[in-house]
């Protein structure tokens, strides 16, 4: 006879416990998560707001197409502005998803289970948003496909030594793999939706999307192996993509850019900003969908520790940049960093330092780590701080290069701001549509951390047995 052993679980106290004490059985997981798919007035309202923001951005882009790039705030030699800043910002946001779903999967970090689907979807939509910006930034955006190597009549090929072509490969690979990772993980959950669906049309659509998944042990075995290998290749991919994005800067001999610290600095910043966006999204979702017993305070606490760690790595990188400028002894570098923090761009640099280095230090307090309201407010500061980090990287370098006669300033115009707002509309529109059609918490993986129903329970110690309920495998 098989006896299945379980440790009795403790209530949701402050600990590293990432199990779900308030979830009784598999059926409850189905019911609770499928309940999030019902549309509400608040959802429609948010969707309309997102579409309105998108319409504003689209209108501004069409105006720019008609008038030319001069309507954006470019001021030579500052020829990279809000579009490149926002591109790097969204690519960075896209990093936390794969970090949470792939890297934490390989590390067997249990707190990822209930938040990774949300983070994966965020990744796909963030990379979709990021991919638009190099195209918006082009003078002739309809020629963007020239960057893709394809056989053509004129026998022309892109310059493979250019970081912009590296970007095309890195971003398109990342988008493809993130989407694949998200969809493969969704297949068993779509099968659950298919089996619970009563509307015949929706049921047929879900049956098609689930590929006829039947939950056999054979399917799960190959699924688990494929998922592991996808996670294994996604992990270096995450690190490579933002490294490649950092090469866009580091390959140029420009003060503040030409440094070998850029790849790890960018990767840490990307993961930090992504975790910030995960908090921005997951905290309202757990409240509105009443998922507090799935995304528990312990999960948020663990994610907050990750946020604090990455914040300190980013803070360390900021300080090392200053050290390199001082120790390198290059006058242009030293002047640039002085100008960045105490000169022309002091306000942007101090927004960055306050939001990314100083405020996250509050997460050393366990009380604040376990306070969802504070985590949400902090996440907004992190989002703002990380956008300004990219502003501080892009604009001060270009406006303060080697030749003093070239020194200038930069002010974004309404077109830049509108397209920036439009990018948030585009991102949230897709995300809101996603949360209403597909489960925002992974059903099958959540079931893995819920004890199965068993007939014969074996507990580890005699004293634990006194407090144990055999039917549910749960402590009183």
């Amino acid at each position: 006879m098989a006896t299945i052993a379980y440790e009795p679980r403790r209530p949701n106290i402050s600990s590293a416990n990432v199990q779900l004490p308030a979830v009784r059985d598999y059926e409850q997981v189905d019911d609770d998560i499928i309940a999030t798919l019902r549309p509400t007035k608040a959802w429609f309202l948010m969707l309309m707001t997102a579409v309105a923001c998108l319409a504003l951005g689209l209108g501004a882009f069409l105006y720019q197409l008609h008038q030319g790039l001069g309507v954006a705030g470019y001021n030579p030699p500052v020829m990279w502005g809000v579009y490149i800043i926002t591109f790097v910002f969204w690519v960075g946001i896209g990093h936390a998803g794969t970090l949470i779903s792939a890297i934490l999967y390989l590390f067997r970090a249990g707190f990822r289970t209930t938040i990774y689907r949300c983070a994966e979807a965020m990744t796909v939509f963030a990379v979709m948003t990021a991919g638009l910006f190099p195209i918006i930034h082009l003078g002739r955006p309809w020629k963007f496909f020239w960057l893709i190597p394809y056989p053509n009549w004129r026998l022309l090929w892109p310059q493979f030594k250019s970081p912009l072509v590296w970007d095309v490969f890195a971003i398109s690979t990342y988008l493809t793999i993130s989407t694949t990772f998200l969809f493969v993980g969704l297949i068993p959950d779509i099968a659950v939706l298919r089996d619970r669906e009563t509307n015949p049309l929706r049921r047929r659509i879900l049956a098609f999307l689930s590929f006829g998944w039947r939950n056999t042990e054979r399917e799960w075995r190959h699924f688990a192996r494929a998922y592991l290998f996808l996670a294994a290749v996604s992990t270096p991919l995450v690190l490579s993509v933002h490294s490649v994005v950092s090469f866009d800067f580091a390959m140029a001999i420009t003060p503040g850019w030409h440094t070998t610290i850029f790849p790890p600095y960018f990767v840490a910043g990307a993961i930090f900003s992504g975790i910030g966006m995960v908090f921005t999204i997951i905290i309202p979702i757990r409240k509105w969908f009443r998922l507090q017993h799935y995304v528990t305070i312990n999960h948020l606490d663990a994610a907050a520790k990750l946020c604090l760690t990455t914040s300190m790595i980013v803070g360390c990188a900021y300080l090392v940049e200053f050290f390199i400028a001082w120790y390198g002894g290059v006058q242009a570098e030293q002047d640039y960093f002085w100008n960045r923090v105490f000169g022309q761009w002091w306000w942007a640099a101090w927004i960055m330092l306050t939001c990314n280095m100083i405020l996250p230090l509050t997460l050393f307090s366990q009380k604040l780590r376990r306070n969802p309201a504070w985590l949400w407010i902090l996440s907004i500061f992190i989002n703002i701080g990380m956008w300004f980090e990219r502003f501080v990287i892009v604009v001060p370098s270009l406006s303060h290069e080697f030749e003093p006669w070239q020194w200038t300033t930069y002010s974004p115009t309404w077109v830049d701001y509108s397209i920036l707002i439009g990018s948030f509309g585009w991102f949230f529109m897709w995300f809101l549509l996603f949360v209403r059609q597909l489960p925002v918490v992974a059903i099958s993986e959540t079931k893995e951390i819920v004890p199965p129903r068993v007939r014969h329970v074996h507990v580890h110690t005699p004293e634990d047995a006194e407090d144990f309920e055999p039917q549910t495998g749960r402590a009183h």
């Binding site: 059985d25 190597p149 026998l155 939950n215 056999t216 042990e217 054979r218 494929a226 129903r453």
Partner: protein, 166 residues
């Protein structure tokens, strides 16, 4: 082929039934489970998944292609810079790596589909929507003369429902 399906509410009952079915060699056993459980895997004792080979060979093919495209294009249309290699393998490692990941990952998914038998247009015999919710199913495919023994064995281990299917 005919068979018999046992429907279990508890994991350990299903594990016991599978273990004894395997021991008795009554027929091929297919297990339905709402989520992967190592207890079931131990009971079924399946062979190792070959999906990892798709990653290996797909990834290697992708890596070779990722290096080949820029090297070939650089030689086909040389942009000569004094003292610099025309086909420079250091920056081209980015393409080698990215295409390695791309083709390797897509091959892995192809391997998953091939070996898991998806996509399929019709549901398999014996499938029940309750198996995606919280219950376990054990489908034994066996000749007619062994159906009775399989059914008795499934009932003995606590199957809440046993039915014959073809």
């Amino acid at each position: 082929m005919r068979g018999v399906l046992g429907h279990f509410r508890e994991l350990d009952s299903a594990v016991d039934a599978i273990t004894e079915l395997k021991h008795a060699r009554l027929g091929d056993v297919t297990v339905f489970t709402p989520t992967p459980r190592h207890e079931l895997e131990h009971a079924v004792q399946p062979p190792k998944s070959p999906v990892r080979m798709y990653m290996l060979f797909g990834g290697l093919a992708g890596c070779v292609f990722g290096y080949w495209i820029p090297i070939w294009a650089s030689n086909y249309w040389p942009l000569v810079v004094g003292g610099k290699a025309i086909g420079s393998w250091i920056p081209y490692t980015i393409f080698g790596f990215e295409v390695f990941v791309l083709v390797g990952a897509l091959s892995t998914v192809a391997g998953l589909f091939i070996h898991a038998g998806v996509p399929r247009l019709t549901m398999m015999v014996g499938y029940d929507p309750r198996f995606s919710r919280g219950d376990y199913g054990v489908w034994v495919e066996c000749p007619p003369d062994r159906l009775g023994s399989a059914e008795a064995l499934l009932r003995k281990h606590g199957a809440v429902e046993v039915r014959g299917e073809r």
